[in-house]
Symmetry: none
Subunit: 202 residues, 4 copies
């Protein structure tokens, strides 16, 4: 019992791709707020209606344009050592994020997510949750192996890693490079207090 009434003509692949391409290109040129559906349609050589038919909002359009890039081709490392795994993972993530335009897209989506709960949910889903889950699992494995202290707060550990990442991405005061990935992970593990002090606290 297929509910499709009569699928005579289907979505045009050409238009679909042209729209996404125009979106990324314009977003990089004008920024999120400077991006207009009108301009996307013009640049893609497409009627506005064709965009409105398939995407409910500018945010949805931008999300789709960048989600491919985000999800693509991250291999989850499994070396058996937590520090190594985390480092390898963030090394990959950082290199993808540094590609131009991404920060503008993310920040724009974040803005609208502040007032649009639906978008917020989709944003969480597409850009946040999946990666948090991956990291949480790596930490869990580390815990099982005894590389993580039982009293450690894993949620906060996840926040520290991704928080630092977003912070540098959005503020731009320092680069998201390999060195940062290495030091960030290391410091998360060992803390900044000297060993002696550590012993005292515990």
């Amino acid at each position: 019992m297929d509910s499709k009434p009569k699928p005579t003509r289907r979505r045009s692949k050409r238009a679909h791709e042209a729209i996404l391409a125009a979106t990324t290109s314009l977003l990089e040129a004008k920024g999120y707020n400077g991006l207009s559906i009108e301009a996307v349609a013009a640049q893609a050589g497409v009627g506005k209606q064709t965009i409105y038919r398939w995407w409910p909002s500018k945010a949805a359009l931008v999300m789709e344009a960048y989600s491919a890039m985000v999800a693509s081709e991250i291999t989850i490392p499994d070396s058996g050592r937590l520090e190594e795994d985390l480092y390898r993972l963030f090394e990959q993530i950082f290199s993808r994020l540094s590609s131009s335009g991404f920060g503008k897209a993310i920040a724009g989506l974040l803005t609208e997510a502040q007032t649009d709960p639906v978008l917020a949910a989709e944003f969480l889903d597409g850009f946040v949750d999946w990666r948090r889950k991956v990291v949480r699992q790596l930490l869990q494995k580390g815990l099982e192996r005894g590389e993580v202290a039982p009293e450690a707060n894993l949620e906060i550990a996840v926040d520290s890693l991704f928080g630092s990442m977003w912070y540098r991405l959005l503020i731009g005061h320092a680069p998201l490079d390999q060195q940062f990935a290495k030091d960030l992970v290391r410091q998360l593990l060992v803390g900044i207090a000297p060993p002696s002090a550590n012993l005292c606290f515990r």
Copy 2:
């Protein structure tokens, strides 16, 4: 050498305050993108030109409307113990940030800062740098007291603290409460690895 042309009629305090008040009120109601100069002028009972005369952009207006709130009345703690100091500091900062509207304002400014370098600089100046400096100094004092390991990367420590904060503020997946302040600081100091592991690494 003073280039002031002549001090004739001066800026109206009444208008100035009404504009900032309308800005915060509307921003909380409609969000950053939904905030229009036109509406601010109308709600403040002011001509649009009066806004454009004193603020170059919506972003500048929002920055001023919130900067007061941000800078105001944070006492820099000095208990002699690093963990205590950091906790007290972030406890204060978190409580201010949780006030409604702030997240929307920040996210909006962040969006525009992605394409406007002038705004980016002002944003850094008004919302980021001062607080980073305060934390860096606390850490420095801790280092001198022997509460911080000499090989610790203080910049990354600062990033971890503020990064986690912004992350929760913008994504909203978990609250910015006292408990978080306490746990975040504690974990920064001791890391998540168990003591034995720590010793091994060093």
Copy 3:
């Protein structure tokens, strides 16, 4: 050789008519300077862009709103007698001009035509030339019939007739009625000097 780009959605008759109607109505109420595109759009229930799309200026809008009224339904008389013909013609013209709003429209257009050569040309074309030509032809026929002296300056005759008309229309010191039409034409033909004097001059 046709340069039409493509006949997609066409101009809306409803909007077109509503705009012209609002224009005349507002012009009569507020005068030419008091007429704003904004108000026309509002009264016509139309977006401003719809006006700007089809008319380049307020003047063009007013011209179109009144040109219909001007050109419409003037029958060119041909009684075989010059005085009769001129009288019949101006009787018709006067009755149309007396309709309210017309003077305001004309004077406003005249103002802008003083600085806008394009408008000046269109104004000449739409409001002046056609009628001058009609009168010139009547005079020409009169000349052929011997009702006009060969040495008469026909251009000045045309100026006298229309000049007097505009003068009364704009200054408003005396009415544009049938009696004026009759006396104006008569005096143009015979002059104001007594017959004896006339003979002397010639």
Copy 4:
């Protein structure tokens, strides 16, 4: 017994003249509608209030700026021959009118007079009535001398002369030169019908 209570400071002659000068200069550059009080004040190096203090409206300002030019130095001819007198008079008037800027000023005033009865009255008073009276008196003298037929309509004669003048001034289709003055007056006197026809009519 001077009734002035305390003549501490009086109207500044410097400002007054600078304002009128700026008015003419700007009116010629931008036209009547393009003339703004703001620009006049700026160009005259004068506060806006100084203009509003002494003139109730833009129209009043323009009237004063041009009235001097209009009234000035017209000698009323009295040669004893009507045709000569009228020709001499209009020759003078035409030469003054041809000066640049005057047409713009007049047309602008005419526009506003269509909706502002007070201005209309002042306009009549300043630009129309005085000259009509002069012409009417010349015609009256001609009548007494027998140069004008008793049945002639003098009002219409005045309308024809001034009407033709305004018409050419505003429409600009033909020049206001000496030849026109001569031919216009001549044709007013003798009409355009041939002598034989004239005799028939009377």
